[in-house]
């Protein structure tokens, strides 16, 4: 199957999972997704677990505390957490197994926007990382405090690079005739 078909199958399965209210079916879905994960299945499992832990843990603990005052169904909590985990795991497995750029190719504009944005994110993320490293080597860090003095040169660099790259890419698109002008 092509990446695009896989992407639409994924969307269909995710939508369907929203209607499932049975813990065992949800568990079966998780087992099938793990099997589809290939060699990276444990890495994907760990990532999905970490991602949902932060938000779901606080909601689950609050619901358990709420249960001390009002009668609550603990299986409802299990179902909510299993559904959240199943969908997150499925998303990470899909992203690992398919080429997202090809999957979004049903819309030329969306595929180009995704490709450009992803490329720029990587570029700017690396730039931000270098900025952090530079600060660290000078004994300062953005993690402990961010001041106007630190934010302003950072914004200049980020915006300057973005504007420069945008005009460079516009010229590239125009010269290759990829988008009708």
């Amino acid at each position: 199957m092509s990446d695009r078909v896989w992407f639409f199958v994924y969307l269909l399965v995710v939508m369907t999972l929203g209607f499932v209210h049975n813990e065992w079916i949800m568990l079966l879905g998780i087992i099938i997704t793990i099997a589809l994960g290939g060699k990276a299945r444990f890495k994907i499992f760990k990532k999905a677990l970490l991602v949902i832990a932060l938000f779901n843990l606080s909601i689950s603990l609050s619901y358990i505390v709420y249960g001390f005052f009002v009668s609550v169904d603990i299986f409802a909590l299990v179902l909510i957490n299993l559904r959240a985990f199943a969908i997150t795991l499925l998303t990470f497995t899909l992203v690992r197994r398919i080429n997202l750029h090809k999957a979004l190719d049903f819309s030329k504009v969306l595929a180009i926007l995704y490709g450009f944005t992803y490329a720029q994110i990587i570029l700017l993320k690396n730039m931000l990382h270098s900025y952090y490293e530079g600060l660290k080597s000078r004994g300062a860090t953005l993690k402990t405090s961010i001041t106007k003095k630190q934010l302003q040169p950072l914004l200049t660099t980020l915006f300057g690079t973005m504007l420069h790259k945008s005009s460079e890419q516009s010229m590239g698109l125009r010269s290759r005739g990829l988008i009708d002008d």
Partner: protein, 213 residues
């Protein structure tokens, strides 16, 4: 503020898909995408993504991150801001698990659409009195109003999807979600307002030729 997967019922996310798809179609029509706009939207989206990585310490040991919605809305217009933030939220949901796929339409209606347009309209509303207050209010509203939408959507889940009083999705009602989501965001919105004011003024000075009015 991102709602993760599994908390929103199909009764809410299916109509939200229709609304958000219509808004996105309208946005791309309004922007009139051409060779200049496509790289610009991609670039602005990347900036917003990176700005969300810049964490600012917040009292209580936690951190808040910049959203940049108001900054983008004021510098490039609300439709470009809406398209950019929607793209950022899609990449965050698919690659980083921040915000879910089923909740994606609600996240873009709240954070991208309401965030971009509330900041734009608040700026228009206050700019005749004071430009600084207008920019601050734009930043403040870009966080405050989306937080109300998020709180309401989460809070109505037990009302629209419960069986014999047992919730099937997000378990807490409006009496819990409104104060717990909206109250902290009033303060986060103040910080976003100050950062927006500082950033917009600075960028307009630094890139005078690009953002000349």
């Amino acid at each position: 503020m991102h709602i993760p997967d599994g908390f929103i019922s199909p009764q809410i996310y299916i109509p939200a898909i229709a609304i958000s798809a219509s808004l996105l179609a309208l946005a791309y029509k309004k922007i009139e995408l051409d060779v200049e706009k496509i790289p610009l939207i991609a670039g602005v989206s990347a900036i917003s993504f990176v700005m969300m990585l810049i964490a600012i310490p917040f009292p209580g040991g936690t951190t808040m991150h910049l959203g940049g919605v108001a900054i983008i809305s004021l510098l490039f217009g609300p439709w470009i801001a809406f398209s950019s933030i929607s793209l950022v939220l899609l990449i965050q949901a698919l690659l980083f698990g921040e915000g879910g796929i089923t909740s994606y339409p609600i996240n873009i209606i709240a954070m991208a659409y309401i965030g971009s347009f509330s900041s734009y309209w608040f700026y228009r509303l206050f700019v005749t009195r004071s430009k600084n207050i207008a920019i601050f209010m734009a930043g403040w509203s870009s966080i405050f109003f989306p937080s109300i939408i998020i709180a309401v959507v989460l809070g109505v889940q037990p009302l629209v999807a419960s069986v014999d009083g047992t919730p099937l999705y997000f378990p807490f009602g409006l009496s819990v979600t409104l104060p717990s989501v909206v109250v902290p965001h009033i303060f986060i919105a103040i910080i976003e307002g100050l950062v927006t004011l500082s950033s917009v003024k600075f960028l307009k000075t630094q890139f005078r030729s690009v953002f000349s009015e």
